[in-house]
């Protein structure tokens, strides 16, 4: 059947293209502009074949070529000093950034977006987003260790959010859990601007020995190109299917073809096996170069491998194992079938390579080899269907200087200050506001989401949600570990993209330090509206500039990133959402700082940093007044740096028993969370000289609430004073009361707070609500100390190891 079809289908060879220069090609349908198509003809000196057109169109797409954003990359370069560059082993341009974290360990990390597929098909869109980022990490030679998922959805109570959110969460869990990767963090944020365009970003962290770093390039003439993993099918072909219909309309091949969804379908089991197979291949040192197949599939993998190497490449496309009949060369090149990798292997290692693949039941096929010269040549049953200079595909795509213009209504937005909004003044009003706030969708417990993710697998997770940062141990001997956090408040970015992005950076940086880790490097996922809108490009440029300059002030480099444009519903763009991910390192994870209070017998609560009357873009203005206007909080990166140093010193010297970052919802939110997570009450005494409402709900940056053992209080506060960090004793931990008491305002029993905080997401998203969800049970949020008290008595015979 397949053979028969091939026989009747004309394949557009290079020879055919040369002889038919005037054939009309559907480049516009493939997203290429007139001048881009003209440039391809100029590069090739003829019209492109179908396969070439497919390859250029997908590689020159915004997603693959960064054509609207790369003119702004100079900001990274200008703001990265040699000192900042020192720990970078691989940076922008590689599959993922790699940094040296000490003791011979290298850590690689990256965030990518899978926004649009996740709106169309939430489960598979989110699942394959995880799969793709994990393969990027493997392609660096690292073992993937953990994932984080920054998510944005439309209004929590919108009916379509009930379709999108549960699907996305189940997809991330379904894929990530099956891969055996702990999920250690991320975000869940609701805002109406994401209604028709949720953001599903996925971050992965991997580790390897420094000596095992693999970079994606094809070097060494005669080396073999091996495609391994899943078969190639018709899924995820998207726009390229127009080639089939245009070229073959009316013929047998064009009809009766089952149209498959353009969202790819993932198989995590195949990926899990592929991961283990790759790691074994790396261990045997038989891989010269490796590249994952993600967006743009083989088009991307072959052109990028060839472009980055020192020779050309020849590929016999008819050798690619397929799972659909009658696929055209263009379709095979563009297919985004998941769970595939492409490796370059020395001829003498091919047998060993195949043996490892066979052990893991992974299909592996030699599809070509590295050649002399600088052409990527692809044949189909002996005939050349593609013959291009690979750099023109992968690295020398179009570049646009899109118009940039500050939106005319930006001043109106900033002038619309939150100062005039009605505020709670009496203790009862403040009490009600606090309960409303902690139950609001953006501040309520994320347990409903995070409990669907495995956070324990592989036994290295030291901190995960609801902690400020995720943290994993990478070396069991030394206890060395890494921490990671992602953050972005899109409302702050909307009000002032430059400052808002620095606030995102500051928060992620602070979160990592709050766990006791030293921030080391930055990645990002820049989610914006249409680059063709000058106002969006203004936001974008401001964000990149703000991030780059902010990183310089903090002294940590940007090692990579991802750009996602065209995030909008109709002509309305999402809140600009440059998600910033910060990676940190900790020498010994046993010194990590937990989030919940009550671990020590007597603890003092100290608020580090200054609280100002800052409500622009705040959660309070959003929840209570539906207001967005004014200016975001002030950002002071020198202060953030000092704060991080104090936290890290406190962790190292055992001066801090718990810490929690203040962000959305302010001090009130931090107090409630730290008490509920620690299952311990506290007594709070606010500053008599400042409005209690401002103290509790302002969102000033640069603040962390710490619990300090009573015995270390003086040492700690003297350190803060000596180094010039403002601090204020805010209260004491109260292990007896089972309540959060805010003096002169109200006393909140922990059970009441827990009902408010934990009830919201289950009420919104549980399919069946036949259980008494609001009854706090003792396992609702269990802390070690609770366990230990109960257990030690029960099995006194258990002796600790070591």
């Amino acid at each position: 059947m397949t053979e028969q079809r091939r026989a009747v289908r004309p394949v557009d060879t290079v020879k055919h293209a040369e002889s038919t220069p005037d054939v009309q090609q559907p480049y516009a349908e493939l997203g290429l502009k007139d001048d881009e198509y003209a440039r391809i003809r100029e590069i090739l000196g003829r019209r492109p074949t179908d396969a070439e057109l497919a390859m250029y169109s997908v590689m020159w797409s915004e997603h693959c070529s960064y054509k609207s954003s790369k003119v702004h990359w100079h900001y990274w370069k200008e703001n990265t000093t040699d000192e900042m560059r020192a720990p970078i082993l691989a940076g922008i341009g590689e599959n993922a950034g790699v940094v040296d974290v000490g003791d011979g360990w290298a850590v690689t990390f990256k965030i990518e977006s899978h926004n649009h597929p996740s709106y169309v098909e939430p489960y598979q869109g989110a699942a394959t987003g995880v799969g793709g980022i994990v393969r990027d990490i493997i392609a660096m030679g690292a073992r993937p260790l953990a994932v984080l998922d920054p998510l944005r959805f439309g209004a929590a109570d919108h009916p379509d959010t009930k379709r999108v959110l549960p699907g996305v969460v189940a997809g991330i869990g379904g894929y990530g859990n099956c891969l055996g990767l702990p999920n250690i963090g991320g975000e869940v944020v609701f805002d109406a601007s994401y209604q028709g365009n949720p953001l599903v970003n996925a971050m992965c962290i991997g580790a390897m020995r420094v000596s095992d770093l693999h970079l994606a390039h094809a070097s060494g003439t005669g080396n073999k190109v091996i495609l391994f993993g899943a078969r190639t099918g018709l899924d995820g072909i998207g726009g390229v299917s127009v080639l089939a219909s245009e070229t073959f309309s009316g013929e047998e091949g064009g009809t009766g073809r089952k149209k498959l969804p353009s969202v790819q379908v993932g198989d995590p089991f195949t990926e899990k096996v592929l991961i283990e197979c790759c790691l074994e291949l790396f261990a045997e040192r038989i891989v010269v170069g490796i590249q994952d197949l993600g967006g743009a599939g083989l088009s991307c993998a072959t052109s990028e491998l060839a472009s980055a190497g020192d020779g050309g490449m020849r590929v016999e496309l008819d050798r690619v194992p397929l799972r659909a009949e009658g696929m055209t060369p263009a379709e095979i090149l563009s297919s985004e079938s998941q769970e595939r990798m492409c490796a370059v292997v020395r001829p003498e290692d091919v047998d060993a390579f195949m043996r490892v693949c066979a052990k893991w039941d992974v299909i592996a096929t030699e599809i070509g080899e590295v050649t002399e010269g600088d052409r990527l040549v692809i044949t189909w049953h002996g005939e050349t269907v593609l013959d291009v200079p690979p750099r023109t595909v992968a690295h020398e795509g179009p570049e646009y200087h899109r118009p940039i213009e500050r939106p005319v209504d930006q001043d109106i937005l900033q002038a619309n200050s939150p100062e005039l909004l009605a505020r709670p003044t009496t203790p009862d009003e403040i009490r009600d506001t606090l309960l409303t706030m902690i139950a609001s969708p953006n501040l309520a417990s994320r347990e409903w989401v995070t409990s669907q993710y495995d956070r324990y697998v592989r036994g290295g997770t030291v901190l995960s949600q609801p902690s400020d940062t995720g943290m994993i141990r990478i070396d069991e001997e030394t206890g060395r570990g890494v921490a990671a956090a992602t953050d972005c408040n899109g409302r702050f970015v909307k009000l002032d993209p430059y400052t808002g992005t620095q606030l995102a950076l500051a928060e992620a940086y602070r979160n990592v330090a709050t766990g006791g880790a030293m921030p080391l490097a930055v990645t990002n996922c820049l989610n914006f509206g249409s680059p063709e809108d000058p106002g969006v490009m203004w936001q974008f440029e401001q964000a990149v500039k703000g991030l780059a300059e902010g990183c310089k002030q903090l002294g940590i480099p940007v090692t990579g990133g991802n750009v996602s444009f065209y995030n909008q519903t109709g002509s309305t763009a999402i809140l600009p959402t440059p998600v910033v991910g910060v990676l940190g390192v900790i020498d010994d994870v046993r010194r990590r700082i937990p989030t919940g209070i009550g671990a020590e017998a007597g603890e003092t609560l100290i608020l580090l940093g200054e609280t100002r009357e800052e409500f622009g873009g705040s959660e309070w203005a959003h929840v209570v007044h539906g207001h967005l206007g004014g200016l975001p909080p002030k950002v002071d990166l020198a202060r953030e740096r000092l704060l991080a140093e104090i936290l890290i010193a406190g962790s190292r010297d055992g001066l801090i028993s718990a810490a929690h970052d203040l962000s959305e919802g302010g001090l009130a939110q931090a107090l409630v969370e730290t008490a509920l997570i620690g299952q311990t009450g506290a007594r709070i005494i606010l500053d008599p000289d400042q409005d209690p409402f401002v103290q509790l709900f302002a969102e000033s940056a640069g603040r962390v609430l710490v619990a300090v053992p009573r015995t270390e209080e003086l040492r700690f506060t003297e350190m803060c004073t000596a180094r010039g960090l403002p601090w204020r004793k805010t209260g004491v931990v109260d292990p007896v009361s089972e309540a959060l008491q805010i003096q002169d305002i109200a006393t909140f029993p922990l059970a009441e707070l827990r009902r408010a905080w934990e009830g919201t997401l289950p009420a919104l998203f549980d399919v069946k609500r036949h259980h008494a969800r609001f009854t706090p049970s003792r396992q609702a949020a269990v802390e070690p100390k609770a366990a230990f008290g109960a257990i030690k008595a029960a099995h006194g015979t258990l002796v600790p190891p070591r």
Binding site: P166, A170, G173, G174, N177, C178, L179, G180, D267, P268, F269, T270, K272, V273, E276, W360, D361, T450, S451, Q452, Y453, D454, R455, Y456, V457, R458, G459, G460, T461, V462, R473, E476, V589, R590, D766, V767, K768, H771, S777, R778, Q779, V782, E783, P784, A786, A787, F788, A790, I791, A794, H795, G796, T797, L798, V799, P800, P801, R802
Partner: protein
């Protein structure tokens, strides 16, 4: 003391099980699904994960793996075997333990810290616990609801073969709150929660799970 840890394609918690064995001062010996060879181990752990992708039905394919033939024979001769999560599903599919595990009642994967009551401290895997002890270990599964017909459930209860029961809220709809059961001779234990994730308070909710591995080491020690 050698504790074998099986790896099927798709097994995830083998590294954790091996670590738990080491923490209990046993030697962890990796066992490969395709090899009909137990490599001289004294006991076997069938760890959690998604063996063979859990396609068809959780554990249904794994039970036919060459290594499982050896495990079944050895278990019938009294070798201690522990099935955790997917491993419990495999032991049920292999006929070493009665009943089956089905989809959670709330229809989605759940990962949380869970209290268990130790109901039977006579097995090869639970002698280190006091009868009735409550232990805190993670549960994480999508298909963890223990199911059997009433007669089988009555038989398990009557013979004292319910080893662990969920204390407090039942996370997945298991019949009679059953979290783990044993074979008639007490050598084979299967449970859905993950003791290997609770061997150190740094990385788990407690170190309560370690007792299971220490129990096995005790059971195997020459008297």
């Amino acid at each position: 003391m050698k504790l074998g840890v099986i790896t099927f394609p798709g097994t995830l918690d083998d590294v954790d099980a091996a670590r738990a064995a080491r923490y209990a001062d046993a030697e962890a010996v990796p066992l490969w699904h395709g090899d009909a060879d137990l490599r001289g181990v004294d006991a076997v752990i069938v760890p959690g994960g998604f063996s063979y992708g859990d396609y068809l039905r959780a554990g249904a394919i794994a039970r036919f793996a060459p290594v499982m033939g050896e495990v079944i024979d050895a278990a019938r001769n009294g070798m201690p075997v522990l099935g955790i999560c997917n491993g419990f599903q495999v032991l049920c599919e292999a006929g070493l333990l009665p009943g089956a595990l089905v989809r959670n009642h709330r229809l989605h994967f759940v990962c949380r810290d869970q209290w268990l009551r130790v109901e039977d401290t006579s097995t090869a895997w639970t002698t280190r616990y006091e009868p009735g002890a409550e232990i805190l270990i993670p549960v994480k599964n999508g298909e963890g609801a223990f199911m059997a017909d009433e007669a089988t459930l009555d038989m398990l209860e009557g013979e004292g073969r319910v080893v662990f029961r969920y204390a407090g809220e039942n996370p997945n709809g298991s019949r009679r709150d059953i979290a783990g059961i044993r074979s008639a001779d007490g050598r084979i234990v299967g449970l859905m929660p993950h003791p290997e994730h609770a061997i150190d308070a740094l990385t788990g909710p407690s170190d309560d799970g370690l007792g299971m591995f220490l129990s096995a080491v005790d059971a195997l020690a020459p008297a």
